[in-house]
């Protein structure tokens, strides 16, 4: 639900031209730069929260960050 709310807000900003005076001088790739500012705001908060929660969980479970990252890497890529 949270994701949908964030996405809807972003869509409205773009579709209403809220940022139309920003970055307009840039090359056609400027849209790709602009969108990062929009999603970065939400992604940054989410990332900070996740990192903090991760740190807290590790503190409780007694696992080091390195152990957790190794477990994640093995699970995701299995290289």
């Amino acid at each position: 639900m949270q994701e949908i709310v964030i996405q809807t807000t972003e869509l409205t900003l773009i579709q209403t031209g809220h940022f139309s005076n920003l970055f307009a001088y840039l090359d056609p790739g400027s849209g790709s730069l602009l969108i990062q500012l929009i999603i970065g705001a939400a992604a940054g908060v989410a990332y900070t929260l996740r990192t903090q929660i991760g740190n807290f969980v590790r503190l409780i479970s007694g696992k080091s960050r390195k152990e957790s990252e190794e477990k994640k890497d093995n699970g995701e890529k299995g290289k």
């Binding site: 996405q7 869509l11 970055f23 307009a24 849209g31 730069l33 602009l34 969108i35 500012l37 929009i38």
Partner: protein, 465 residues
């Protein structure tokens, strides 16, 4: 056939003002231009190069005293460790592209933590190391100084080269990866969004990274309004958050499990266990007789016979037309931690051509490193009957590829050929074992041949005349 020697940049490396790749006496070198001096030095002084090469994420390079190809602009020349066989995204399976994407994100995150950033995120900067079956980044000059406040310049390219094709393959069809052939800089995001089914809308961040991204591109493309007064500014956590989001999106995308024509071939073929075992032993025996050092298994399916060569320590490219067979082969290769095998998608009747600017950015499959040996097992009937390719042309084709050939003749009495002929007129009077031998005798000398027990098929070892 190797590419000709040149002082000019090879492949697509001419686009980078900081340097380029060139070839001299069969070896590959990279010239670092004066324009790339600072970034190249930072790559080393920041510890990023050491971190990436220690993890086998980046091809290592050595210093060399080779003269620069274009001395006027040169800062230095390095010799990168060579990749055994170049391959391109439209020749990969789903998981190969996914692993390449995750590697690119890992590298970008590591780069940020070392004060650098990828200035491009092209899928063509990733290759597969045949010894470890792992993706590896090859472009030493892709790194630039990280400026926290600026958005990631390679974000668009990452979405077009990795996220869009992976989403299309996961939600629609694996064959959409072939759009990478016609779109040299990745699949346009608006096109991807048009093709994606509605169920992709609220899943895996695709709405944000593809739909909104495409909308933003369209909204600001070609605009000539006056300069903005506010500055673009990002924080470190915003960068890491976007990377984390992309990683989560890609990790959640999975291959569709549709069955295709070849992925279950071995369970449907008319081989029994004895015939299958004998065929494998014969292939191994013929391979040893040839003393070949490198192998292409064309029509390799899931790599059952390719592994006979790779397990003998011979670098082997295992081609198949079916992306699901290549996916199964790649997954098995990873699970078994196999070495010396590289599964790749290839349609022999429409092989990867020269592509890009001046038809020189992406090299056709036949202009890359040729093998000593071709395996053409359970293939001839598909080429000759399904595709109407005359046997003489097939013989000529194989003789141009390699000096040695292990080929299986599948006669009309075989159930697989009967199936192919069941829905069409038999216009192949020459398709007999005698006609096959006559056609191939124009190019090859038959060194060995043997009928395979409990089947109508015959296996041949041939040497080019």
């Amino acid at each position: 056939m190797a590419r000709k020697e040149s002082k000019e940049p090879i492949g697509g490396s001419f686009r980078d003002p900081e340097g380029f790749v060139f070839q001299r006496k069969g070896k590959i070198y990279r010239q670092i231009n004066q324009a790339g001096k600072d970034n190249f030095n930072l790559l080393h002084s920041s510890g990023l190069y050491e971190h990436l090469t220690n993890n086998n994420w980046l091809t290592p390079h050595s210093q060399t005293k080779q003269v620069a190809a274009q001395p006027k602009n040169s800062y230095k020349v390095i010799q990168p460790e060579e990749i055994f066989f170049l391959s391109y995204p439209y020749e990969w399976s789903f998981s190969q592209l996914k692993d390449a994407a995750l590697l690119t994100l890992d590298i970008q995150e590591a780069a940020i933590k070392h004060g650098m950033s990828l200035k491009d995120a092209s899928a063509y900067n990733v290759q597969f190391d045949i010894e470890s079956s792992s993706p590896i980044f090859i472009d030493t000059l892709s790194f630039e100084l990280f400026e926290t406040e600026k958005p990631w310049t390679a974000y668009r390219q990452f979405c077009q080269h990795f996220l869009a094709p992976l989403a299309l393959m996961a939600y629609s069809d694996q064959r959409f990866l072939q759009l990478m052939r016609t779109n040299i800089d990745g699949i346009p995001l608006d096109l991807a969004w048009k093709i994606l089914p509605s169920k992709a809308i609220f899943g895996n961040g695709l709405f944000t990274h593809i739909y909104l991204h495409a909308k933003a591109q369209a909204a600001y493309a070609g605009s000539n309004e006056k300069r903005p007064t506010r500055r673009i500014s990002m924080t470190l956590n915003q960068h890491l958050g976007i990377l984390d989001g992309l990683r989560r999106s890609i990790s959640k995308l999975n291959q569709r499990s549709d069955l295709t024509e070849w992925a279950n071939y071995y369970s449907e073929t008319n081989y029994d266990d004895i015939a299958f075992k004998e065929k494998k032993e014969l292939v191994g025996k013929y391979l040893k007789l040839s003393k070949a050092q490198t192998v292409w298994d064309v029509g390799g399916n899931t790599g059952e016979f390719s592994r006979i060569a790779s397990q003998q320590g011979l670098p082997t490219i295992s081609f198949d037309i079916d992306p699901n067979a290549i996916e199964a082969n790649y997954i098995l290769t990873k699970q078994e931690q196999s070495t010396n095998i590289l599964p790749l998608v290839l349609d022999l009747t429409n092989p990867s051509p020269n592509l890009g600017w001046n038809n020189e950015e992406r090299i056709s499959i036949y202009e890359r490193k040729s093998p000593d040996m071709i395996f053409a097992l359970a293939l001839i009937h598909h080429m000759a009957i399904s595709n109407n390719l005359p046997l003489e042309r097939l013989a000529s084709f194989f003789s141009k590829l390699a000096p040695w050939l292990i080929i299986e003749f599948v006669p009309k009495s075989d159930s697989q050929v009967k199936r192919l002929l069941s829905s069409r007129t038999d216009i192949f009077p020459e398709y007999t074992i005698e006609g096959f031998k006559r056609a191939f005798a124009t190019q090859f000398e038959i060194k060995e041949s043997q009928e395979i027990l409990n089947s109508d098929r015959t296996l041949f070892l041939m040497k080019r005349k």
